[in-house]
């Protein structure tokens, strides 16, 4: 079983995230970066599938991003993934989600995979559409929003969170799975894992290496463009009162004043 995990490096949610004034893309250079949180769950789930299915399985990390994304790749390797592919090229800068899915699909087509696992969303763009985009591009089934994954007999089965419960969804392998953080508890890299990660194979690909046409990616040919943006002043806090035994009716008074009652 070959499992590919998509891992993204994102600005730390706790950091102040900004769009750059020059080209209106996310400023990734001046902030602290981390592995996208839900991707840790994706890596963990891949390792669990590997452990359950036997020794001949491999877990490959696939990351698209600038050079410094190597730090995030190393973290995934230190958790226990076997090898990694890093697609990095200046020309990818400013790619929209559709272009990103195109580039990732091109790389995935060169890898032998039974399962692609990604997190349900990244904390920076928060589109949560990478699994359906890749499923559509690769012509593979989409198993998205998994809170539970079972793999066996050439099929994958998930529990997919819905608005009022969950659906059980099944597909033949190879399939594209996205996971929510309910699915497991990611392991911490061990010291041994961290040391081993330094020696694990990491393949770096440019656009040319991956056979991706430069005019299919990047800001200039993005399928949508930012016209303008404004940094909103932080929300002003309103009236804060202390409960003096009449708290319930104070809140009710406010709701009435806003015509909610």
């Amino acid at each position: 079983m070959n499992i590919v995990v998509l891992v993204k490096q994102v600005p730390d949610t706790w950091a102040e995230r900004k769009l750059s004034d020059s080209d209106k893309t996310l400023d990734r250079a001046s902030v602290d970066v981390v592995m996208n949180e839900i991707d840790e769950y994706a890596v963990e789930e891949a390792l669990k599938v590997k452990e359950a299915s036997g020794d001949d399985s491999t877990v490959t990390i696939l990351t698209m991003g600038p050079e410094r994304a190597v730090e995030t790749i190393r973290k995934a390797l230190s958790m226990g993934a076997d090898k990694a592919v890093h697609l990095t090229d200046e020309a990818l800068h400013g790619s929209c989600a559709l272009q990103t899915s195109y580039a990732l699909a091109k790389v995935l087509e060169t890898l032998h995979y039974d399962l692609v696992i990604c997190g349900s969303e990244s904390t920076d763009a928060r589109l949560s559409i990478m699994a359906p985009l890749l499923a559509e591009r690769l012509g593979r089934p989409q198993l998205s929003g998994a809170r539970k994954l079972t793999v066996g007999d050439g099929t994958a089965r998930i529990e997919r969170q819905t608005e009022n419960g969950y659906d059980v969804v099944e597909a033949a392998l190879p399939a594209i799975v996205s996971v929510v953080e309910k699915i497991n508890e990611p392991r911490y890299p061990s010291f041994k894992g961290i040391m081993a990660a330094k020696k694990k194979p990491l393949t770096t690909l440019t656009l040319a290496d991956a056979g991706i046409e430069a005019d299919r990616v990047g800001l200039a040919s993005a399928t949508s463009s930012v016209e303008s943006f404004s940094n909103r002043p932080p929300r002003q806090s309103g009236q804060i009162v202390k409960d003096e035994g009449d708290g319930g009716s104070r809140v009710a008074d406010f709701l009435a004043s806003q015509k909610f009652l």
Binding site: L19, P132, A135, E136, S144, E227, R235
Partner: protein, 319 residues
Amino acid sequence: MAEVLVLVDHLDGVPKKVTYELLTKARDLGEPSAIFLGAPGQSAAALEGLARYGAEKVYVAESEDITGYLTAPKAEIVAGLIAAKSPVAVLFPSSAEGKEVAARVAVRTGSGLLTDAVDLAADGTATQSIFGGAVEVRSRVSTGTNLVTLRPNSTPPVEQSGAAAVEQLTVELSDSAKGAWIVESVVEGKGGRPDLGDASVVVSGGRGVGAADGFALIEGLADSLGAAVGASRAATDAGWYPHQHQVGQTGRTVSPQLYVAVGISGAIQHRAGMQTSKTIVAINKDPEAPIFELADFGLVGDLFTVVPALTEEIIKRRG
């Protein structure tokens, strides 16, 4: 007049409020047509409402295959309609499924896609609120058909009668649209409350609620307001309330008219999921809780005494 397609979000045929919001918004861009996709017979329950909110045409596709497989059949039908009708834009609800269908349609039609819009201008420019509400962005689709997913509660639904002329579509799906089949649908939790994503009012409980039992208070307050129930990640991780109610960065994003945060400190992950709410009320015993920084009205007090009193007061005033 240019046609604007709206994907109907419905429960067993009955359109959700967001559908009417999309139809209302679509009128700014052109002549709205609704796309109804569901199981056989379901559209009967939708037509009256779609006519009342201005749908001139209703494209109806009904088949067990549409509901039996995950998202791909819907995308295939919508993409086919785009090819046949060349609409100026297609509006989708910003639900998990709405975004996934839109994503597949974007790939199929070579179009750009803007998700989670909180507003849409007549010229097709979408407004999005990003980085936990810190930045507001105006963007345009620059390739193919203008595809936009719009968050519930982005615009008040306004009635305007439409012809709602039905055009039946033949459903012939490719094999690749049948790749992921739904084995069963399980309903969890209690019914009867509005859906979190769609609700005008949301009451959420957090760590301060203290235990699963405590959520009875949250539910009581929610019911007095006709609200949906949300929960912070601390509360769902602790197993106090089902995960699908989680509001925040790794859960649902809501932007109701009124958001009541009870016993929620307001960590940035939570704020990312509710910051675009129109009015925010916070009840928390810690006066330093960051949730108070964005509350329009904050009450510093013990939720176990305040919430029951508030619930009683609301019931009394609402008669």
